[in-house]
Assembly symmetry: C2
Homo-oligomer: 284 residues x 2
Amino acid sequence: MPEVTFHGLDIGRVDPNDDLVERIVSTTGEEYALSDGDVIVITAKVVSFAEGRLIEADDVDVTERDRRVAEITGIDPREVAVIYEESDVLGAIPIAEVGEDLLLEHAVDPDVAQEALDDVPSMLVTERNGRLCTNAGVDWSNSPEGKMTLLPKDPDESARRLRGEIEARTGADVAVVLSDSEIAGPGSMDLAIGCSGIEAIDTNFGRADLYDQPKIGGVDLVADELTAGAALLFGQADERVPVVIVRGLEYEDGEGVPNSSGIVRRGLRKSIELTARLKAREWF
Amino acid sequence: MPEVTFHGLDIGRVDPNDDLVERIVSTTGEEYALSDGDVIVITAKVVSFAEGRLIEADDVDVTERDRRVAEITGIDPREVAVIYEESDVLGAIPIAEVGEDLLLEHAVDPDVAQEALDDVPSMLVTERNGRLCTNAGVDWSNSPEGKMTLLPKDPDESARRLRGEIEARTGADVAVVLSDSEIAGPGSMDLAIGCSGIEAIDTNFGRADLYDQPKIGGVDLVADELTAGAALLFGQADERVPVVIVRGLEYEDGEGVPNSSGIVRRGLRKSIELTARLKAREWF
């Protein structure tokens, strides 16, 4: 029977400009040697650290626009400036106002949670590298004091480079998926922001089902399923498991995550149009 | 180091009114005996079969409204009738128009895929059991000819019942999560529609991060991460692995998936308001 194992790696705290591949290879070498067909899911945060993608907040130039946006969103104006630099800003979500009840209900410490909500009452909806994400992935959390972490400049390219370095040092032909935590309905989940050596979307669309009928489903987001599963092991806060080795999965070769922001934006616009027609037809 | 194993179970094709728990227990008994702390992820489809939640399309009464909605969405009027019976209809997504290029690119057989797109050009956005989903989960695929499968009436209750029966027959204290395939961005992913014996959302919000700062993230959708990971093993079409045993996960006790449609709808409305204010502030 098919069996897939998710094995978390404690590679210790990664500090800016550490050699990430060396840390992964030495940790796996001792406890779980890499082999062909493994998928390595890595949180974008440690890849950013290793690539030196940190910015000193006090070095950021803030414009009048950044101040105006900061005022209505509650986001630090220096972060606003970086988000506009890193992405196209499409909109904003008032997280605290929408989800306060749910968030406080699921808080470890209500006071600390309230403090976090006061600190970050809203998030910007952004488009970066062809994907929709919040705050362009810019993050103060798990970052050294006074610094923000930016996403890798080109996450697919980072995945490709990491995959090449891992093969060069171990001989193992693996796939690499970079993940980042994103809002998904009533909470958050890790989704794929870059990959190499694996097809991000499977190819079952239109295959016959159990009863030999063509099936419309089956456009499985394999790379996102891998990051979501790996998130069961990632430490979201004070844990230190930013790397998960997935073993036993059959997958196809491929490069890059799909450029999805176009399809999502077009889907939203066309769905609003069809919904208006639907609602008119329901009663007239 | 943390390690979580996803083990797929081939329980054979489940036919209407089969004893699902007997099939699971006898299959696991031979190859992978259940033990305390296992999480059993089951596709809603086989739970619906076992509960006899199938409907003969020709027995459905179709109203004038159903015909009007069918006309603009391309959905079979009998399916429209069942969807309105099963849920509140909030809107519609013109899937074929939005995603045709992507879907045909990822098709196994372009002709069969085109046929599937012609058959189901749109989907209805519905609210059911406090969750948003498409077509109220009503599905012709993997169903006997001329029949539609409906979701379990109360998926949390089904999970609770299955969990109790499994414990009664094996003595193992497991958790049960029911999953269904849903649209997620540019493809589909399995999400949790019911659960028992596990907290669906984890409780890390506001915990201190690596640098002792409170963190706004960490509202992890654990149940959805489990179903997404299990989807790597589920056969979406002609495969027969509708059950996945997840072993090695530490989780908290809890009942039920969150009632998320309110928060998602409120989030959408409030995000549109804040986005309008944001766009006004960007330039004026």
